[in-house]
C-alpha cells in the first residue's frame, strides 16, 4: 500500500499569538484515514474579537492526535452554533460525520461562559453537550477540556489535551549557559519558567497531583534533588547526600519518591517516604542501578542496571526478592517510562551506534522501535498512554518530539531559541 506514512506537515501555527509560543508543534507524520471532524467557529456575543478562538484550539488538539482530520474553515458549508441551527443535509455525505459547535459569552461578573455540543450529523443528534464557566485566563484550558470530551466520546479513550509538559530549556550564549525548568500546556502554549539556574537541571518528575515537580539541580556544583510546589514556587531540598542524588520518580500514591543515591559507594535505587522522611535502599549491587520508575500498582520499580555488563532494564519488587531482567534485545536499554496500563514500557534503545525510543510489550515480550533516532532519549507517556513525548536532536539542536504509542503519528515541538530536553508529561490535572 502506498504511503502508510503520509507527511502531513501541517504547519498549524502561522496564526498570530501562536507564533509567540515557546513550543511550536508540527505534525510531521499522520495517519491515513483519520476521522474528519468539523469544528465550527464559536459564536461570540461580545464586541471586537473573542479573547480566544476556542474552535481553532479544539481543531488543533484533535488534529495533533493524528486520529482526527479537522475540516478547514473555508470548507465548512455552514456555521451553525447550536444543534437547532444545523441543517443536516448540508453536512451528510462527505464533509464530516461529526460537528463541534458552540458559543462564548462574557458574563456580568467578567467571567466567560462556554457552551458546546458534539453532534452526529448522520443521526442529527447531540452526542455531548456541556457548559463551562471560566475566567479569561482559563479559556484555553476550557477549549482543551472540550477536546478531551470530544476525543473520549469518539475514541473511547480518555483525552489528554488538558495536561502539561515540563521540560528543561537550555540557552547558550558564548561561554554562558543558562538552564530553565519550564512548564507549558500540552499544546506548547503558555510556557512558564518555574526554576532558572546557571548550572544543569535534569530529570523533572511530576507528582501524581500535578501540583509539584521533583528534579535534579546542580546549583551547588553537585547533583541534588529538589521538590517544588508549582503554584507557590516553594522549593524543598530533598536529597543532598555524598555522591549522586538523581533520577527522582514520584510513586503513584504521591507518598514516596524513588531516587538514585550513591552515598554507600555505588549508585543504588532508594525510596524516600515523604510521610516520615525515612529512606530505604532497594537495590544493593556494585553495578550502576539508576533511573527508577514505578509500576502503576506502586509495588515494584523498573530501573536501569549494568550488572550484566551493559545497561538493561530490570524490575524489583519492593517487598523483596532479586531484580528480574526485562530487556534482552539490544546492547543498551535504559531510562524506562512505564505506560499507565502497566503493560508496556518505553525505553531508550541503543543499537548500531544510535539511540531510539522503543516499546517493550510485557505480555508478549516483543520490543518495537517507535522512532528513528539517532539521538532520542527521555521518553514520557501522556497520562492516557496514547502518546509519548521524548527528546531528540534536529540539526544538532535539542528539540522535543512526540510519537503515538502505535508509532504511526509523529510530531515535532520546536522552540525559537535555544534547546529543549528532558520532557515529562504531566498526569491528568483535574
Amino acid at each position: 500500500m502506498m504511503a502508510r506514512r503520509i507527511l502531513l506537515i501541517l504547519i498549524l501555527l502561522w496564526l498570530p499569538g501562536i507564533v509567540q509560543a515557546a513550543l511550536e508543534i508540527r505534525v510531521t507524520q499522520g495517519v491515513e484515514g483519520a476521522t474528519p471532524v468539523a469544528v465550527v467557529p464559536f459564536a461570540w456575543s461580545g464586541e471586537a474579537k473573542p479573547p480566544q478562538d476556542l474552535a481553532a484550539i479544539v481543531a488543533a488538539d484533535l488534529g495533533r492526535s493524528g486520529r482526527f482530520a479537522p475540516v478547514a474553515r473555508e470548507d465548512l458549508p455552514a456555521r451553525p452554533h447550536a444543534l437547532d441551527q444545523v441543517e443536516m443535509e448540508r453536512w451528510r455525505g462527505g464533509v464530516s460525520d461529526y460537528l463541534v459547535v458552540g458559543r462564548l459569552d462574557r458574563l456580568e461578573d467578567g467571567r466567560f461562559r462556554v457552551r458546546f455540543q458534539l453532534i452526529d450529523a448522520v443521526s442529527g443528534r447531540e452526542m455531548e453537550g456541556y457548559r463551562l464557566t471560566v475566567p479569561v485566563e482559563r479559556l484555553r484550558r476550557a477549549a482543551h477540556r472540550i477536546s478531551d470530551i470530544v476525543y473520549e466520546r469518539l475514541t473511547g479513550e480518555r483525552g489528554a489535551f488538558d495536561t502539561r509538559v515540563a521540560y528543561v530549556r537550555v540557552i547558550r550564549d558564548g561561554e554562558d549557559t543558562r538552564y530553565a525548568l519550564q512548564v507549558a500546556d500540552a499544546d506548547g502554549h503558555n510556557p512558564r519558567t518555574v526554576f532558572r539556574s546557571r548550572r544543569p537541571i535534569l530529570s523533572p518528575s511530576w507528582a501524581p497531583d500535578g501540583q509539584r515537580l521533583a528534579y535534579v539541580s546542580f546549583e551547588n556544583r553537585r547533583s541534588e534533588v529538589y521538590i517544588q510546589d508549582l503554584s507557590s514556587g516553594e522549593r524543598t531540598l530533598l536529597a543532598s547526600y555524598a555522591g549522586i542524588n538523581g533520577a527522582p520518580a514520584w510513586s503513584p500514591d504521591g507518598q514516596r519518591l524513588a531516587l538514585t543515591l550513591s552515598r554507600e559507594g555505588d549508585p543504588d535505587i532508594h525510596v524516600y517516604d515523604l510521610r516520615d522522611g525515612s529512606l530505604r535502599r532497594v537495590t544493593r549491587d556494585r553495578a550502576i542501578d539508576t533511573e527508577p520508575q514505578w509500576m502503576p500498582d506502586g509495588r515494584s520499580l523498573v530501573f536501569t542496571s549494568d550488572r550484566a555488563g551493559q545497561p538493561q532494564l530490570y524490575r524489583v519488587d519492593l517487598r523483596g526478592g532479586r531484580p528480574q531482567r526485562l530487556s534482552f534485545q539490544g546492547r543498551y536499554n535504559g531510562d524506562a517510562a512505564v505506560a499507565p496500563d502497566g503493560d508496556r514500557i518505553a525505553m531508550v534503545h541503543g543499537e548500531d551506534g544510535g539511540f531510539r525510543i522503543a516499546l517493550l510489550d510485557l505480555r508478549g515480550g516483543s520490543l518495537r522501535p517507535l522512532t528513528d533516532g539517532p539521538m532520542d532519549e527521555s521518553p514520557s507517556f501522556a497520562p492516557n498512554g496514547s502518546m509519548l513525548i521524548y527528546a531528540t536532536a534536529q540539526d544538532g539542536r535539542g528539540v522535543l518530539a512526540a510519537v503515538s504509542a502505535d508509532g504511526r503519528v509523529h510530531q515535532r515541538l520546536v522552540v525559537q531559541e535555544g534547546e529543549v530536553r528532558e520532557p515529562a508529561w504531566s498526569p491528568f490535572l483535574d
Binding site: 546542580f218 555522591g243 549522586i244 550513591s262 551493559q310 535504559g334 539511540f355 539521538m375 527521555s378
Partner: protein, 195 residues
Amino acid sequence: MPVSNTGPTAFKILISFLLATTLAACATVDRSPGEGGDRTPADGSGGGAGDARGAGDAGVEVRGLGDGEGIALDPLEDPDSPLSQRVIHFGFDEASVPAQYLGLIAAHGDYLARNPEQTVRLEGHTDERGTREYNLALGERRARAVQRMLELQGASADQIQVVSYGEEMPVDPASNEAAWKQNRRVEIVYEGDQG
C-alpha cells in the same frame, strides 16, 4: 594499580616541596601597623615563596604556606610537571583508567600525600551518548576510579571530593567522535582553582 616508575618525578616534587616550604617559613614575618610598605618577602631570592597579602590597616601579614597557588616553585604551576596535566580521558562506556595516565595520577597522588592540607575535586564527565542519569552514574564511576588510584598513592580520602556531571558539561558540545573523546573525562580540580 600503583605505579613505581615515578622516581625522578617524585624526587623533583620533593625538592620543589622542600624549597617551597623552606622559603615560606622564612617569609613569615610580622610587622607592626604603619611600618613601611608592602615588602615582598624573599624578594629577589629567586621566585618568591608566598602569597603576599597586604592586610592594610592591621599591617601586613605575609603567609606562605607552600601549599597553593601563585608560587613559582609549586609543582602544581610548573608546566613541565605532570601535575600540570589534570584531565584523564576514557574510552566509550569505560571507567578504567588508560595506562598512559597512570604516571600522571601517581604524581597527583604523591603530591596530595605530601600536602595533606591540599584538597581536590574529581569531576567525572561522559559523552552525550546514552541516557542522562546513567551517564551521571558513569561519570561518578570514572571519578571514583581515579580516586582509588590517588588513595593507593597515599592521598587520604578526606582530601578528595568526587562529583559527577554526567554528560551535562561537555568540553565540546558537537556530536562527533572527536567531541565525544574530549568529553569523556575526569578533571582534577585543586581547591582554590577555578572550575
